[in-house]
């Protein structure tokens, strides 16, 4: 069954025709081509599909797209307008090596945002609880925790924006075929 939904995604009003079986993550990825939202398990465990729905993080594999009618959705792509104005949390992840393969990263960053929105000066324990819904298999969370601590300092105005030790050209797969 097809159904039409109207929602706001990253500040932009969208009208989307969706199959009623479709999960929100698929709609964002396949229909809006916002492929920064990743899918890792489909059962609400890994958190790679985390987006913000009406200002709160949710796992978009557990939300039917049809149920997002009227919602205000923020994905990782909504955190910036260009590579030069990434969100301070993203900058902190880059500067503190808070990522490796990058698959869990967009969801992790949105969980960090949710945490810091509500709690600008979290303890290490609060950070760990704040991101416990996002599984990372590469980093052991160590540099992620430090990235969030760093981002918190910047957002509190106690430190200037973090900067990576170098700004290199991106290493990339030879061909990008994001359709």
């Amino acid at each position: 069954m097809q159904t039409t939904i109207k929602l706001t995604v990253n500040g932009r009003a969208r009208t989307v025709e969706v199959d009623s079986r479709m999960i929100l993550a698929d709609m964002l990825r396949d229909q809006l081509r916002l492929t920064g939202t990743h899918i890792g398990c489909g059962t609400g465990n890994c958190g790679a599909c985390t987006v913000m729905l009406d200002g709160r993080t949710v796992k978009s594999c557990c939300v039917l797209a049809a149920d997002a009618d009227g919602a205000d959705v923020l994905t990782v792509e909504g955190l910036y307008t260009s590579p030069d104005d990434l969100h301070p949390i993203q900058q902190a992840f880059i500067a503190n090596q808070g990522l490796q393969c990058g698959y869990c990263t967009p969801g992790m960053i949105l969980s960090a945002k949710q945490l810091l929105d509500a709690n600008p000066d979290p303890t290490e324990d609060e950070i760990r609880h704040g991101i416990s819904g996002n599984l990372c298999r590469c980093t052991g969370y160590h540099f992620i925790v430090e990235s969030i601590q760093d981002a918190a300092r910047v957002l509190r105005g106690e430190a200037s924006a973090p900067s990576a030790s170098i700004t290199g050209l991106p290493a990339s797969p030879a061909t990008d075929v994001a359709g």
Binding site: N45, G102, I127, S132, C136, R137, P173, A174
Partner: protein, 818 residues
């Protein structure tokens, strides 16, 4: 500025933090169709018939492929590890099974449809008539005479057995002061990259060209495997590796799914995409480490081990073309770890069962080797009453005893195990721990410290194996504008070797780091290479990059020398400038030198210089011996990193819950190119080690049904379970790589297992507590605690004062029980 040794952040960070990577599921092609696999629901069954008529009739279904198609149109999947060459049994494994399924998850059919929903829904339309066959799940029973067989043609369930003998074990044991025996088990686990597998195939019938995108670690070997299975020429296949969302060994080909997706694209004329579901990942991508060890160890009162016999029984699941079973071989091969035990007998039994086959996973059997050796060393310490460190010091291979030959024929290149343990004990204030423990005990808390030593051979080269060898290639190019491009045969599924290559090339060329771009994972752009496994990326790719960059450096130095009227040997290069040693003012810009090569090819300074600024070089590793000597032994691991770790845990005696409080690792993988990224890798490896030892377990029931097919059942650690890590490096360089690196991708994992067991035991000094089995579930720890005899003979289990049972139920105290 010298770049090697700097904590440079990853070159892919910005792209990935923005969510702008291109992973395989982001590859979208016009007119793309979707494929779904029907997998066996039985652990062992004969297929009587497959009826696809209902599936074909479903609107939107384009094609259904079965075993008939595979056996007619495809060839068997080539083996990743050349089993026959080392005397192991093998099977012909087709991309789709026709007659008999041997584990839950083996591919029985595939549906290609217009969309993912239809493809998945049509799986239910396929009628397969199965006749259930006897199921083999217990590796010990599987070795008994008359056991049911996984492969009836074999006559038994043993894929390979192997004895590695050094010295005279019987005599050594007879002469030892004491002899003890023990049995320990490491559990069945899997890697769980957060991105599963997936591929997209596109066939151009007119150009006769297959383009294949896959989340793989090994694009070039995959090309060969596809060519062989599809029976087509290799130069008709173009493999592209997009960003890979974690590999950890499990994305090494050849799988059943790859040729099926490619074949589907060829027969339908449509681009075809398959994206693995998490449940498929658990049932078919591969398991590892399910091993039982039975040991007999002799030792003297001084803690020196004289005589060690270890029987290694590995349950590797069903035999296929995957290389995973080789992990059991490496476990046996790398025993007795970092210890000098001249009289050693290792007996390896590799048993097949009706379970998902093993596939490569970080650690690759070295983890299990480190685990059993740590358990043995702790056992000897308990029996002798000596400190656990004393036993290790007494038995370590000495720093002046390298190269060192092991019973397997393995030749250890270099190491300083004492040095690493020294550093560790100092870093954690080992001597001070007892005071902390006593203080915790006074507060009613049980904490314990465990030690782990890991020997992690890297850079594997298997005789006759295409994918597994000790070389790799790199191309370094300088464009007319002066920017540098590096193309490598190794790949980076998130481990950061691309950043290391840029650092290495920047130092050799003297160019600026930020002018370097790295390209990997494309068989038509990159030099031939074997991809990512066995911690080889920086060791081989980095060394090849260095060789290629040196070629260009030599050429540029010649031109620069002419420009500066100096001898090439007197020049230095750094930060984009060539200058005369000792006279930095006599300098010329890197780009100006490049300009001479490209635009003044026939001018004064480039006279006699071969045009072009591009070099492709291959690095060939030393310390590999493939011509077998008398016992048929060979040395296939050239680099031997070592690590020494300490963990502090708190155990709740009432529940068996274990919490990791502190984790410290001293790692020696030779020269460190990028300490930041090596630390990042180590953090991940430690976490995977702790996860596998404490929270993760693949479980089958007696019918061979997988009981852990979701992340709800197979629980990997969250941030809450992990502590911050403390890492220190010792650098004992490899004598065989130009910069001295040994490979650090797997380091950090192997020492977690034994360290955790030892820490739990250490938390209960009043008990003769023996932790023998992984994983360390609360139930199992609790059971071990309550049945452990007290050393004073007063009964079993932790002394009551430590259990909290005697706590007064007063207001102030009760809240502390949390």
């Amino acid at each position: 500025m010298k770049q090697v040794g700097r904590r440079v952040t990853g070159l892919t960070n910005t792209q990935l933090a923005a969510g702008k990577g291109t992973f395989v599921n982001d590859v979208v092609l016009p007119d793309m169709a979707f494929l779904a696999f029907l997998r066996s629901p039985y652990a062992h069954a004969r297929i009587r018939s497959v009826d696809i008529s209902a599936a074909m009739a479903r609107p939107g279904v384009i094609k259904v492929l079965t075993g008939e198609d595979a056996y007619r149109d495809l060839r068997p999947i080539p083996e990743a590890w050349n089993t026959r060459e080392i005397g192991a049994k093998g099977v012909l494994w087709y991309p789709i099974v026709k007659d008999r399924v041997r584990y839950v998850g083996e591919v029985v059919a595939a549906v290609v449809a217009e969309d993912r929903w239809t493809a998945a829904a049509a799986l239910d339309d396929i009628e397969v008539d199965y006749e259930e066959l006897p199921v083999v799940t217990d590796p010990i029973k599987a070795m008994e005479p008359g056991a049911d067989l996984v492969e009836p043609a074999w006559g038994d369930n043993l894929l390979i057995t192997r004895d590695w003998i050094a010295g005279d074990v019987d005599a050594a044991l007879a002469g030892a002061d004491r002899v003890v025996t023990g049995t320990v088990r490491s559990n069945r686990i899997t890697g769980v990259s957060i991105e599963g597998r997936g591929c997209v195939a596109q066939w151009d019938a007119f150009a006769r060209k297959l383009t294949f995108w896959e989340s793989t670690q090994n694009p070039h070997p995959l090309r060969s495997f596809l060519a062989e299975t599809l029976n087509m020429s290799e130069n008709s296949i173009h493999v592209i590796q997009p960003h890979v969302g974690g590999g950890f060994g499990l994305k090494q080909p050849p799988f059943q799914e790859e040729p099926v997706v490619a074949h589907a694209a060829m027969v339908t004329g449509r681009p075809v995409k398959w994206i693995e579901e998490r449940a498929e990942n658990f049932m078919a991508t591969g398991h590892s480490r399910d091993t039982r060890f039975e040991y007999t160890v002799g030792f003297n009162a001084d803690g020196r081990v004289h005589g060690l016999r270890i029987k290694v029984i590995a349950d590797v699941g069903a035999p296929t073309a995957l290389l995973g079973w080789g992990q059991s071989f490496v476990t046996g091969y790398s025993l007795p770890g970092g210890y000098d035990i001249p009289d050693t007998n290792v007996q390896l039994y590799v048993v097949v069962t009706n379970k998902c086959p093993w596939n490569a996973y970080r650690g690759f059997g070295k983890d299990a080797q480190s685990f059993v050796m740590d358990r043995i060393m702790d056992h000897v310490a308990r029996e002798t009453g000596l400190d656990r460190t004393a036993i290790r010091y007494a038995n370590f291979i000495r720093p002046d005893d390298f190269p060192h030959s092991q019973p397997s024929g393995a030749i250890l290149d270099s190491g300083n195990y004492q040095g690493a343990l020294d550093k560790l004990l100092k870093k954690i204030d080992y001597a001070g721990f007892r005071a902390l423990q006593a203080q915790a005990a006074a507060e009613g808390r049980r904490i314990g410290l465990g030690l782990g030593q890991e020997l992690t051979p890297e850079g594997c080269a298997m005789p006759g194996a295409l994918m597994i060898s000790a070389y790799d290639g790199a191309t370094v190019r300088v464009a007319p504008s002066g920017e540098v491009t590096i193309l490598t045969g190794v790949t980076s599924p998130g481990c950061g070797n691309e950043t290391a290559f840029a650092q290495i090339a920047a130092d050799v060329l003297g160019c600026k780091l930020e002018t370097i771009r790295v390209i990997q994972g494309d068989t038509e752009l990159c030099p031939y290479g074997l991809g990512n496994y066995s911690s080889r990326g920086t060791m081989y790719g980095g060394s090849a990059t260095q060789l290629a960059a040196q070629d260009l450096r030599n050429k540029l130095a010649e031109v620069a020398a002419s420009m500066l009227e100096a001898a090439p040997a007197d020049l230095e290069a750094a930060d984009g400038t060539f200058f005369v040693q000792g006279s930095p003012d006599r300098s010329v810009a890197f780009n100006a030198v490049v300009n001479q090569v490209y635009r003044h090819t026939f001018g004064k300074h480039a006279e006699g210089v071969e045009p072009g600024l591009e070099s492709t070089r291959y690095f060939r590793m030393g310390n590999i011996y493939h011509q077998p000597e008398t016992q048929g032994r060979f040395s296939n691991y050239p680099a031997w990193p070592f690590g020494s770790s300490a963990v502090v845990v708190e155990v709740d005696p009432q529940t068996g819950m274990v919490k990791v409080l502190e984790y410290t690792l001293v790692e020696d993988a030779g020269t460190v190119i990028n300490p930041l990224l090596v630390d990042a890798n180590l953090h991940g490896a430690i976490t995977q080690g702790i996860g596998s030892a404490m929270y993760e377990n693949i479980s089958y029931d007696e019918n061979g049904q997988l009981q852990t097919a979701t992340l709800m059942d197979y629980t990997i650690p969250t941030a809450i379970e992990m502590p911050m890590f403390s890492i220190e490096h010792q650098e004992t360089p490899s004598p065989f790589t130009p910069l001295g690196m040994k490979g650090a991708g797997e380091s950090g994992l192997g020492s977690t297992l034994g360290a955790l067991c030892g820490a739990i035991e250490d938390a209960f000094p009043e008990l003769d507590l023996r932790i023998t089995d992984l994983p360390l579930t609360p139930n199992r720890v609790w059971q071990s605690l309550r049945t452990a005899p007290r050393k004073d003979g007063s009964g079993f289990g932790p002394s009551p004062s430590a259990t909290g049972a005697a706590r007064p139920a007063v207001a102030g105290a009760v809240e502390a029980i949390r």
